[in-house]
Symmetry: C2
């Protein structure tokens, strides 16, 4: 039951919540021991804040929940590959696992040759089509 | 009067405020039209949050002050070269100018071949010795 697809579907629900607010539809959850300890979606427009990416909010919320700043034994599920800023935050957090829906070839951290913490396992391509489609459709409708 | 050194001294006061809380002593201010619109220091331990770097807090505070997420006609003065996370946030913010005190060869963004927004002018080495010394002394005392 608790597969990567299961949790990515919940991250997608967060992306849909962003879409309803006319935000770039990216969603994210953090899971520890099959329990969701943080969920967030992009709020850069609503909050007028470039740092309000889904991942940043989720990292802060998860650390708050855990009472410590390191996200050991935690997995982040995010619908789009994190940007430079968010990959830097993930690196500091020493998170155990990062599961990415769709790649972001232009703005994502992977093509910038950035790496996460040596402890962090990275998985890509989980529900890739759904995660990619929601963002593509958003930008198509904006044009 | 309103030289880069003048404003970097105020960023150094923020670093000293961090030191008093036993935080890694890094301070930062954001200036617009010679007016300080945000000031912050590292609070990662106090807040249990890896994202609570001085720069991140200052970017959020400045955008809040301006009522918009882009930091046009703004200059950030920061005592230590920003990390990957903070450089990513600065990139999104399109800040006009970044003035750095001391370089951070290991964790700073420059040696990672990351660049900021094309609009952003970068100046390094303002009050370099003072900015470097406060961090070096902090880590020496920790050992």
């Amino acid at each position: 039951m608790f597969s990567d697809e299961y949790f990515m579907k919940i991250a997608l629900q967060e992306a849909e919540a962003a879409l309803e607010k006319d935000e770039v539809p990216i969603g994210c959850i953090i899971v520890s021991g099959n329990r969701i300890i943080a969920r967030a979606h992009n709020l850069t427009e609503t909050l007028n804040d470039v740092t309000a990416h889904a991942e940043m909010q989720a990292i802060t919320a998860a650390a708050n929940f855990l009472g410590g700043k390191y996200l050991q034994n935690c997995t982040m599920y995010v619908t789009l590959e994190p940007c430079v800023m968010c990959s830097g935050a993930l690196n500091w957090s020493q998170i155990s696992k990062l599961v990415i829906g769709a790649r972001d070839e232009q703005r994502g951290f992977i093509n910038k040759n950035l790496t996460l913490h040596p402890k962090t396992q990275v998985v890509t391509g989980v529900l890739e089509n759904e995660c990619s489609e929601i963002v593509k459709t958003f930008f198509k409708n904006k044009r």
